[in-house]
């Protein structure tokens, strides 16, 4: 009763979507990691190979071992290392999903300021995810 009083419908919707997507994210991340380290699926780069080079800068490590980065893994989901990486990518997308869900709700309430602000926020995150404003390759 109290929570309905102090958090409006949009905030409650955001909270519900966040609860589900983040719980799923944590499960994915742990499951993906176990698949990788227990080598339940074949991987292009084994954990021990990565460990041999993790003292190097990110750019240098990528020249030596083909660990997934950005979106270059998208067609190789059957690999253990890719699956683990994809779960981290999902976790990094949760906020975007939650924000995208509330844009129509702001529009429905004719709250133009927050409709535009949330849309811009989603665009910033989408551009970052696409590598457009984050130096992707």
């Amino acid at each position: 009763m109290k929570q309905q009083l102090h958090a409006n419908r949009i905030q409650l919707t955001y909270a519900t979507v966040l609860s589900w997507t983040s719980t799923l994210g944590i499960i994915f991340v742990v499951a993906g990691y176990l698949v990788y380290v227990l080598q339940l699926l074949p991987s292009a780069v084994s954990p021990s190979e990565v460990a041999m080079h993790w003292h190097l800068r990110a750019a240098e490590l990528h020249k030596i071992v083909p660990v997934p980065s950005g979106w270059d893994w998208i067609y190789q989901l059957g690999r253990g290392d890719v699956l683990s990486y994809a779960s981290v990518v999902y976790l990094s997308s949760v906020t975007m999903l939650c924000l995208a869900v509330i844009i129509p709700l702001f529009l429905k309430e004719k709250d133009m300021i927050y409709s535009v602000m949330t849309l811009l926020q989603v665009l910033v995150l989408v551009f970052a995810a696409a590598g457009i404003v984050s130096g992707g390759h």
Binding site: Q11, L12, V30, T95, V124
Partner: protein, 318 residues
């Protein structure tokens, strides 16, 4: 008497945990220098990182600080991973903590969506810029600036005094245009507390700086978000803490994507850290009433300052 005894025992246990944290630091335990090719089996590092993050999670909750701010300076000091990957993992530690804490805080009306969205838009853009600059900087410059920042954070934590219920007589024009105000039920006061904010433009400027630093060093930014919400904008402390977590989830998402694109996120480093920290945070929350939080907070500030000094020395090549 009995309660006091229990709290003393609790504090001693925590002290032992902190000592363990330092002694367990793999650089000491396995006697390896900081950047060698790895001789220890990879899975030993994985377990060490998980256990280390677990302890870090416990003391972070008790000391009332975010895990991310402790994670980066300490792990980059004691583990053989390059600081690029530690910063990437640090962002994910802070992000996953914020995501899991966000839902209940929003449902209770403690975190405020409009306050968070207003600050996060500009902060997330600067967070992306900070991440790009941070990953392009030479390693010694990163260590130097990280060391200086961590020492600054230790000072802020030592000196800042929060205000539980700041009184705002007149909200500013921008906050009125943006409809930033709210009401929440305070469990401690057993009554509803309504709030509004002022100095919104100054707050926005400060969030640009906070976002940039969070992205640059992969730190969660609760240490800065909370004082700005509470002391500058005048939001109640509970609203400030809860909304800070929400802002953090947006800013760290933006910065995390830069790290993902630059190849600075290795699941082998990020996942044990996230899992250990989350588990530790849950245990820490249970221990919260059983220990002297002030003592632990002072110890953590000392630990943070030591990690900052170590980063500075590394930056100078010492």
């Amino acid at each position: 008497m009995n309660h006091r005894y229990c709290r003393s025992i609790g504090s001693i246990v925590l002290l032992a945990l902190l000592t363990g944290l330092l002694l367990f630091s793999p650089a000491v335990a396995f006697a390896v220098p900081s950047h060698p090719p790895v001789q220890t089996e990879w899975w030993v590092w994985e377990i060490a990182l998980f256990v280390f993050s677990f302890f870090l999670g416990i003391i972070a909750v008790i000391a009332g600080v975010g895990g991310g701010v402790l994670f980066v300076p300490i792990v980059s000091s004691f583990f053989p991973f390059h600081i690029d990957f530690v910063r990437g993992a640090g962002l994910l530690v802070a992000l996953s903590g914020a995501l899991s804490a966000g839902s209940p805080l929003l449902k209770k009306g403690l975190a405020n969506l409009k306050l968070a969205l207003s600050m996060a838009l500009i902060a997330s853009i600067s967070s992306i810029a900070g991440a790009m600059v941070g990953l392009a900087m030479p390693e010694n410059v990163v260590q130097l600036s990280l060391g200086a920042t961590i020492l600054g954070i230790s000072m802020i934590m030592l000196l800042s005094k929060n205000s539980a219920y700041p009184e705002i007589t007149e909200p500013d024009t921008l906050s009125q245009i943006l409809h930033i105000y709210g009401i929440y039920y305070d469990e401690q006061l057993k009554k509803e507390v309504s709030w509004q904010i002022h100095r919104t433009p100054i707050g926005l400027m400060l969030f640009i700086v906070i976002g940039f630093m969070a992205g640059m060093f992969g730190l969660g930014a609760g240490w800065a978000n909370v004082p700005v919400f509470n002391l500058v904008l005048g939001a109640p402390l509970r609203v400030s803490v809860a909304t800070s977590i929400f802002v953090l989830s947006i800013n760290d998402t933006a910065a995390a994507w830069v790290y993902l694109h630059k190849g600075a996120v290795l699941p082998l480093i990020a996942v044990p850290s996230v899992a250990g920290m989350m588990l530790g945070t849950k245990i820490g929350a249970r221990l919260l009433t059983k220990v002297h939080t002030r003592v632990v907070r002072k110890l953590v500030i000392t630990l943070l300052a030591a990690a900052g000094m170590r980063a500075l020395l590394k930056g100078f090549g010492i």
